[in-house]
């Protein structure tokens, strides 16, 4: 049976257009990053990457991402469960509130945290009397990172769980399964790809966030400098090669997560095929 767009001419034309446009629009920037990073050879790239400050920035960035993901995961699943499995007044508003981070420009996101938790903010000034400092230290970076990344998991899960409906879970519960078992055995297998994709987006954004972090970080080299901030500083110091070396690292982290996702998908599809 022939489907729409199956005519060989249309097919080839569409594929060719898609490939050419993606190559120009998406692939070329990626190539440019690596081309710039290695423009002075592998050694220079390595010197830039193995610099103490760069290494510290990599460590801090990864730590922030690793702390952000579980928080966003728990929240995303809870919220998706809530708005797709129950109907209650205010559901739609709750669902829109979660989009606030999309609507707030990252610089403003940093600012609002600063205004609240900074030395003059009403929570910040209270913490200050106990000598607790959140802003301009890693907890502040973590807080704004959670703010900007928290919608991703929920946003991925909600449409899917809405479309799937709750019949399977209800059946499981009716048959006597506990809530936790139902979630693990019934819900989780159904949503794992969306969950994984949400985690990947969260991770990508957490690793790469610049605007919000730059406001609350203080950018102290070797202490509160994340990789994107470090990159910008190198760029400002006429060290374009060093900056693009960091950019290449960030792109590499991105590519690795994407590869991990593809690999897991492939393994799962093979398992399904055998079963």
């Amino acid at each position: 049976m022939r489907r729409i767009g199956d005519a060989p001419l249309i097919r080839r034309l569409l594929i060719a257009t898609a490939l050419v446009l993606s190559a120009l629009f998406l692939l070329l920037p990626l190539v440019a990053i690596f081309a710039q990073a290695f423009s002075q050879g592998v050694m220079v790239f390595w010197t830039n990457v193995s610099n103490t400050f760069t290494l510290h920035a990599i460590g801090l960035t990864l730590m922030i991402a690793l702390l952000t993901i579980p928080v966003c995961l728990v929240f995303g699943v809870a919220l998706a469960w809530l708005v797709t499995r129950f109907s209650f007044p205010g559901r739609r508003i709750l669902q829109t509130l979660i989009d606030i981070p999309f609507a707030v420009s990252p610089v403003v996101a940093g600012l609002i945290y600063l205004l609240l938790y900074g030395r003059n903010g009403w929570i910040g000034s209270w913490l200050d009397t106990y000598d607790i400092q959140l802003m301009f230290a890693w907890p502040g970076i973590l807080m704004v990172t959670i703010f900007v990344t928290c919608p991703f998991v929920a946003r991925e899960l909600i449409p899917l769980m809405q479309a799937q409906g709750s019949r399977e879970e209800e059946a499981a519960v009716t048959l006597g399964a506990s809530g936790w078992t139902t979630f693990r055995r019934v819900t989780l297998p159904n949503i794992r790809w969306a969950l994984l994709y949400g985690v990947i987006l969260t991770n990508a954004r957490a690793v790469g966030e610049f605007g919000a972090v730059s406001v609350v970080s203080g950018a102290i080299r070797g202490q509160t400098n994340t990789l994107p901030l470090h990159l910008e500083q190198l760029y400002q110091d006429y060290n374009a090669v060093g900056a693009f070396a960091c950019a290449a690292l960030l792109a590499l982290i991105a590519l690795l997560t994407l590869a991990a996702k593809a690999g897991l998908e492939w393994r799962a599809s093979r398992r399904e095929a055998f079963a």
Partner: protein, 284 residues
């Protein structure tokens, strides 16, 4: 149908975890999202209504709305077409490199915006690979309005692709087989049969891309040129106010972007809800 209806209304009682998920969600939203936002309104409270309107309607700021909205609209439109094409190709066809192309779609999300900005500016400036090709043809991208739209389109393309893709995947083969068997041409069949199905997803994705573009700063600032009245975006106006220690002014402009974006997002959510309801047979 009646069985489905009972299940749906009865779900509140059958499934556990309402309290727990409600608790986590409300606590998180209050602490992480709403509490900081009150800080923004705290700043706004320092302004009288007249001052507020004077700030948000100042000539240069209004010009920046125009630039931002215009460029975001163009970017969203381009993304709607390009994103639809990509989603279609990825779902419907098999070809070498498909996996790679699929993975590439997430790149703009994965790439830090500042990196995207620096890279795009490098590529499209007169001395760059793309700019070197385009500028002799009299087509300048970097430091113009086109550059802004380009950066916006780059950072928001995944929204369209990733929203349309699953819907296209779920579309049963019978739908277009039926259309084709009636003898319609590909174009007509696509418009009459496919488009109505994916329309809501396309609008949602395009809307999200548009909202994202309104707030984008890092990727744009390097390629914009930042000329007053011509290539200044609203996010830059906020940044300028911050440099002047004018938190209230920054909050005022930020609140405009926030309200517009939230209104759009609410509209998208309602639209999405309608769509889902229609899928479930008009009930709920």
């Amino acid at each position: 149908m009646s069985q489905l209806a009972t299940w749906r209304t009865g779900s509140t009682r059958v499934l556990p975890g309402f309290g727990l998920s409600m608790g986590i969600s409300v606590l998180f939203i209050s602490l992480v999202l709403l509490l900081p936002i009150t800080g923004l309104f705290g700043q706004l409270a320092e302004l009288s209504l007249a001052e507020y309107f004077a700030i948000i309607t100042e000539g240069r700021v209004v010009a920046s709305y125009m630039v931002t909205i215009g460029a975001a609209a163009v970017a969203a439109l381009v993304n709607a077409i390009f994103g639809l094409l990509l989603a279609w190709v990825l779902v419907r066809y098999e070809f070498p490199g498909k996996r790679l192309l699929d993975a590439l779609m997430d790149l703009p999300f994965a790439l830090p915006t500042a990196v995207a900005g620096i890279t795009l500016a490098t590529l499209y400036a007169g001395s760059g690979w793309m700019g070197g090709l385009l500028e002799p043809l009299g087509f300048q991208v970097a430091y113009t309005w086109v550059g802004i739209a380009l950066a916006m389109a780059f950072t928001s393309i995944p929204f369209v692709v990733r929203t349309v893709q699953p819907v296209l995947e779920d579309l049963p083969a019978e739908v277009d087989e039926a259309a084709m068997s009636l003898g319609a041409t590909d174009g007509v069949a696509f418009r009459r049969v496919i488009l109505p199905h994916i329309w809501p997803a396309l609008v949602t994705g395009t809307g999200l891309a548009f909202v994202r573009s309104l707030g984008e700063f890092g990727a744009i600032i390097f390629i914009a040129g930042n000329m007053p009245y011509e290539t200044e975006i609203t996010a830059l106006m906020i940044f300028v106010k911050l440099q002047e220690y004018d938190y209230a002014g920054a909050s005022a402009i930020a609140s405009v972007v926030l309200f517009v974006s939230l209104a759009l997002l609410l509209a998208i959510n309602i639209w999405q809800g309608r769509f889902v309801r229609r899928l479930h047979g008009g009930k709920g």
